[in-house]
Symmetry: C2
Subunit: 144 residues, 2 copies
DNA sequence: TTATAGTCTACTAAATCTATAGACAAAAAG
DNA sequence: CTTTTTGTCTATAGATTTAGTAGACTATAA
């Protein structure tokens, strides 16, 4: 399951993608409209900023805005940033690999093979799923 | 990520599948060979027993054994039993569905669509992955 | 120079996961 | 029919992770 943090991040990013190139948006506004605790959201947006997905502007009239084009931000990257590994076992994770304690022969582990398959399919879908694509899919159904 | 409980369950089941129709195996033996805390393993095996995946025999010479054929036990069922939902969002879970708080229009949610895709692929792979198949894959590489 | 709004550090609370203790129940062996 | 073995069950403790909050600090625009 995704953490709330990750869900909040995705919703905030979709929200900002809808307002791409329309100037900075207040944290407060995102928090209220998406029902996200403001202080929690601050930390999330900051992380996304450090990852060069968002930019921010300080002072009056400031706020956050999408730094990249909506088609250049995919869910794989967001999920890794928020929740860490996407794989279901540490020993099949590409970005957060750790050997299994119990496994002695990783190369011939039948269990591992299964989760390599799951990982590959999951990454394929998540990397194809960009903010632009998500917006496209829910077009005509503007969310409040 | 799978919980330790779920990993332990899978390892214990593979271990028992290797000894299918060879009589009951002590909890103690499984615990030692698979490096699983015995008391924790007891609870896990009990759950698997209640789910009709394992049977047990009490008293001297007792223990646990696989109740079904190894080809009739798949990872989808085990994971649901141990960790609950397999889906990454409650609103796309088949067995543990819950609506998303933030989502107002579930039918047209672009985020949801992505995770329906992930869920379907994951379930497909996990339901095809049986104990028999796992054993088959690691054949010739007998684990200690 | 003041008000606004993001930045950063440090906590606290809640939930979940992992592991253990110990009493109890059933079955086999002698 | 008593002893030993081994699974059953309840309760709980400890550790870790997740979620959420507080408050001081900094940059910027008007």
């Amino acid at each position: 399951m995704l953490s709330k943090k990750c869900k909040y991040a995705i919703h905030a990013l979709v929200y900002l993608a809808e307002r791409y190139q329309q100037g900075p948006v207040h944290i407060q506004d995102i928090a209220e409209e998406q029902h996200i605790p403001k202080k929690f959201l601050e930390a999330i947006l900051l992380e996304l900023r450090n990852a060069k997905i968002l930019h921010s502007k300080k002072g009056k009239g400031g706020g956050y805005y999408l730094y990249r084009k909506p088609e250049d931000v995919n869910l794989m990257e967001i999920m890794r940033l928020m929740d860490g590994a996407i794989a279901m076992l540490p020993c099949v994770s590409l970005n957060y690999y750790e050997p299994c304690e119990e496994c002695r022969d990783e190369k011939n582990c039948g269990i591992r093979d299964v989760f390599i398959g799951v990982r590959d399919e999951t990454l394929r879908i998540l990397s194809e799923s960009t903010l632009a694509q998500i917006l496209e899919r829910q077009k005509g159904t503007r969310r409040v």
